[in-house]
Symmetry: C2
Subunit: 350 residues, 2 copies
Amino acid sequence: MTESIKVSPSVRFSRTLIEPALRAVVDDYHDDVARIVRYHFGWATPTGTPVDGGEAAGGKCSRGTLVFAAAHAVCGRFEMALPAAVGVELAHNSSIIHDDVIDGDAERRGRATVWAQFGTSLAVLAGDALLVSALRVLADPGSCDGRASALMARANERLIAGQVREAVLHGGDTGSIDDYLDVAENKTGALLECSVELGALFGGADESTVELMGVAARHMGIAWQAANDVEDIWGNAAVTGKPARSDLRRRIRTLPVLAALETGGPAARALAERWHATSAGDDQEVDALAELVEQAGGRVAAEDVSRQHLDIALSRLADTDLPPGAVASLAELFHLIVTRKSTIAPESGS
Amino acid sequence: MTESIKVSPSVRFSRTLIEPALRAVVDDYHDDVARIVRYHFGWATPTGTPVDGGEAAGGKCSRGTLVFAAAHAVCGRFEMALPAAVGVELAHNSSIIHDDVIDGDAERRGRATVWAQFGTSLAVLAGDALLVSALRVLADPGSCDGRASALMARANERLIAGQVREAVLHGGDTGSIDDYLDVAENKTGALLECSVELGALFGGADESTVELMGVAARHMGIAWQAANDVEDIWGNAAVTGKPARSDLRRRIRTLPVLAALETGGPAARALAERWHATSAGDDQEVDALAELVEQAGGRVAAEDVSRQHLDIALSRLADTDLPPGAVASLAELFHLIVTRKSTIAPESGS
């Protein structure tokens, strides 16, 4: 595939820049904390033996790559954005360690999650340590006069608000499509938006370009979240890195389910009746629910939402004053992320 | 008591400065997050109805008061240190919300803790929100050229490392007095040290005065932690705000226990044998353990450690170039905190 050949080298290159800087942050931790975080990143076994994880270690660094891509789009260079790339990766990894605690997910990247390996207490604290570091790397004097640090703090506030909203909605088994979009915009969108904004900021872009690029990334994030929810139900578990239909198994009302329920037809009514009727973990039951969601039109509706928000994202990019080549290059990256045709697709926070 | 009359008004005054600023930070949160945090601070019921909590609401603000006291000691004024006072209170409250999750403590300040009221997920996220805010309030441009923000980040890293070390030690039911002191220096000492350093920094003190005052506060923190552990076993539950002998009940090896076990005499041997022999929650059994700790000399030893570290703290204060009146005033505050003769004694993080 031509597209992925053009983009992949820079993804790999981003990772080769980011990983040593991430390791340097972690090397500075107290031994107890470093051991947990190194395990999380796939750099070491639970007892601390180094692992040569190759490309799988440390996750995909997709947010860090977006930082570099945005910096490159505005000025043709990107190395100076390294603190931002490291910061967004630290923030993202903090959020997924805490998210796995919240969701009770025992597996990620094909290995036991931090809480499953070390217990809830140490998972809470390891996430805290990464959160502090994420804010610290951007608080250094010289990081764009405090603007970078303010953007990072604001993104984390929105990410956390999105997680809280999601937890409240899941707890009450409620929520509309609007609630879903609100969660996606904050929980998923905020850090992707921040990644692109920081890249543009470190690249020297003016205020309005930073903002437009950020809005584009926010919509790309919503598009990606919708695509991710379709993937959870009808995708390939080997690609998602998570157990098949894990959201459906836990009766989480993701976008395809909400859209299916809103149609109100016979399949929607059957879905609503069946939702809590039987034992949650039963494979056949989960497959029957997936079938009803598809019959009611939930899959097609979710794919439409994803396409619409990707269109908005690409149109916001086109509104910027960036050179056409830079717009095309970022648009291609956005498209690859959302359609998951690249190894760069961001890892799910949920 | 003359001492407490001289100090208390400034404690109350500190709280009247800090609380509105804390409320402004929380007002900026997403509604879902604000509701949880307002409950935590005692400003509202779980459903959001405002509570006129009087002096009990929002905790004691002892760390914020230390910020002001340090600023006052170096320049005679203290209002300019408000961002630092707010920052340390936010960081402290983040850490106690997460600490209550880790320890499974269901009660604090006479009310249900955040996880007990809203569940573990929302408690993790509320703590995250406060942690981000703690770092954000000191990352504003103009906050001492990034030094304030670096001190705050470093203090949180140490606090988290101390929490991790403690969790690892408690998990293995191990640990020596040295381990205990290491945990106390980081988990308790780091934020008290940071409070005094930030106060001195905002007050315009030179590098070496900031550092000396910080070292003094670190030892005051260890002295306070030791006194706090004595209080847990032999203190008044109405004063500590926690259920009586909660540490002993959970078989946590606090300083008096560790010191008792190290004596190796008959009472120490009886204590070691009895430690895990019977059901943890039994009141009579807990009382019998307390009796053995005292017989073995654990109480006296812990009181000695507290006194020694308070002496070091006061002697470091005397080493500074501060005017004698300022040294005396800070020393008095330290003394009142450690001996818990004032409403300002910091709230336990565990």
